[in-house]
C-alpha cells in the first residue's frame, strides 16, 4: 500500500507543475515595516503567480488616508509597480489586491515609514 501511495503522490506532483494558483506576495520593496532615510519613488511587489491586470492593484495612502500614487499601477507578469509622488516624512500604508490568472484572489496590506 505504501508503494501505491507514493505513486499517487508522485503523479499529483507531476500534474502540479503547469498549474496556477493563489498569488502570494513573495517580495516587496520597500518591505513591511521598513524605515527609510530616502523616500521611495515607487512600490514594487512580486508575487508567486502571474497576475490578472484588470483585477489586481495597489494603493498607497498617507496617515490622512490620501493617496500618494503618481499614476496607475503597472502589472506585468507576476509583478505590480506603482509610482509615487515625492513623499514627505511620515507613515504610509500599502494595500494590494492580487488576482492570479486563474482568478484566485489574495490581498494584503503593510506600512512603511519615511524618516525625517
Amino acid at each position: 500500500m505504501t508503494r501505491h501511495i507514493f505513486l499517487a503522490c508522485a503523479a499529483l506532483a507531476c500534474f502540479a507543475t503547469p498549474a496556477f494558483g493563489h498569488a502570494f506576495l513573495q517580495h516587496a520593496e520597500p518591505g513591511a515595516g521598513a524605515r527609510l532615510a530616502v523616500a521611495p519613488k515607487r512600490i514594487a511587489l512580486a508575487f508567486s503567480e502571474r497576475l490578472e491586470p484588470v483585477f489586481s492593484g495597489v494603493t498607497v495612502t498617507d496617515t490622512s488616508g490620501h493617496g500618494v500614487e503618481a499614476g496607475a499601477a503597472q502589472v506585468r507578469g507576476n509583478t505590480m509597480i506603482v509610482p509615487l509622488r515625492p513623499l514627505a516624512p511620515g507613515n504610509y500604508r500599502v494595500t494590494w489586491r492580487a488576482v492570479s490568472v486563474d482568478t484566485h484572489r489574495t490581498e494584503g496590506a503593510y506600512s512603511f515609514t519615511v524618516r525625517p
Binding site: 500500500m1 499529483l12 500534474f15 502540479a16 506576495l25 520593496e29 509597480i81 490581498e107 496590506a109
Partner: protein, 308 residues
Amino acid sequence: MNVRECGSWEVENIMKPVIPNAALGAVVLSSVIGISSSAAAHGVVGERFFPATITSDDPFAADELALPTITSFDHETDVDFDYSKTILPGFAIGLGIGHVNAKVPGEPRESGFGNLELSSALEVYRSSEHEFILTTGLDWEVGGTGSRTVAERTSTFTPTVKFGKGFGDLPDSLRYLRPMAITGTVGYLIPGASEEPKSIEWAGAIEYSLLYLQNNVRDQGFGNFVSHLTPVVEMRFSSPTSTGNGGTTGTINPGLIWSGQYLQLAAEAVVPVNHASGHGLGFIAQLHFYIDDIFPHSLGRPIFGGGK
C-alpha cells in the same frame, strides 16, 4: 517604466512572463466569468492564509487531498487518506479512510482498514476585515465498513462547529501578535447504538504565520522557504458526557507546517495529556495537496456555481 530602476530587485525577477495580448482577452473574459467564486479558495480569509491543520479539522470548505497522513502513537501506526470536494462555493463533502496497524505488547497484532468517514462542511460566515470564518458540519463514521479486527460495527454522528480567527486586526502596539491565528472545532459525538457513550469532541490549533509576519508586519529578510513556515500547536480532546465512561483524553501536538504553492508538508509531535490518553511520545506527518490550485479549471472548482 524602466524596470531597472527598482532598487535592488533583480531584473529577471521583475520580468517574469508577460501575458501575450492575444491571450489577455481570453484571460480577462474567463476572469470575469469566474471571478465571483475566486474568494472561496482554500484557507484564505481576507489577508490571512490558514494552512490546513492535521490533528484538528480546519474551518474551510475546500478542494483538498491529504495523502497520506501517517500517525505513530501508543503502539499503533495509522496511514490515512482524506479528500474534500466542493459542491457549491462554501459547501464541501469529505471522504476519509485509514489503515490501522496496532501491536500492543503481549497481544496479537491487529491490522486492517478503519471505517469509512464521511463529512460535510458549510461556511456560514466570513469576515475578511477580522480574518474570521465560521463553519458547521456533520461527520459520519460509517460503522461496519472497515475491517472487523480494527473497526467499530456501529456508526457515529458528530455535528460540529468550526471557526478560524486571525489576529491581523490587533492594534499597532501588538503588531508582532498579528501573525497569530487560532482555529477550533467543537462537536457532539452521537453513537448509533444507544448503549455507547456520547462525548464532546473538541480540538484546536494556535499558529504563528511567518508569511504574515514577513509580508504584513515587518520584513524579516526570510528566504522563500522559511517565510512559508508556520509553527503550530494543535490539540485534540474527547470528553465523555456521562459519568462512568472515564475522563477527558487527548493529545497536544507541537509542530511545523510548510505551505507551498500547491502542497504543504506538516510534522508534529504527539504528546498525551494524561495516562488514559496513551503512552510515550508519538508523531504525525502529512502531505497535503491544494486541489483548487493544482486543477483550478476542473477538479479544483465547485461542481455547481464555480464558473469555468
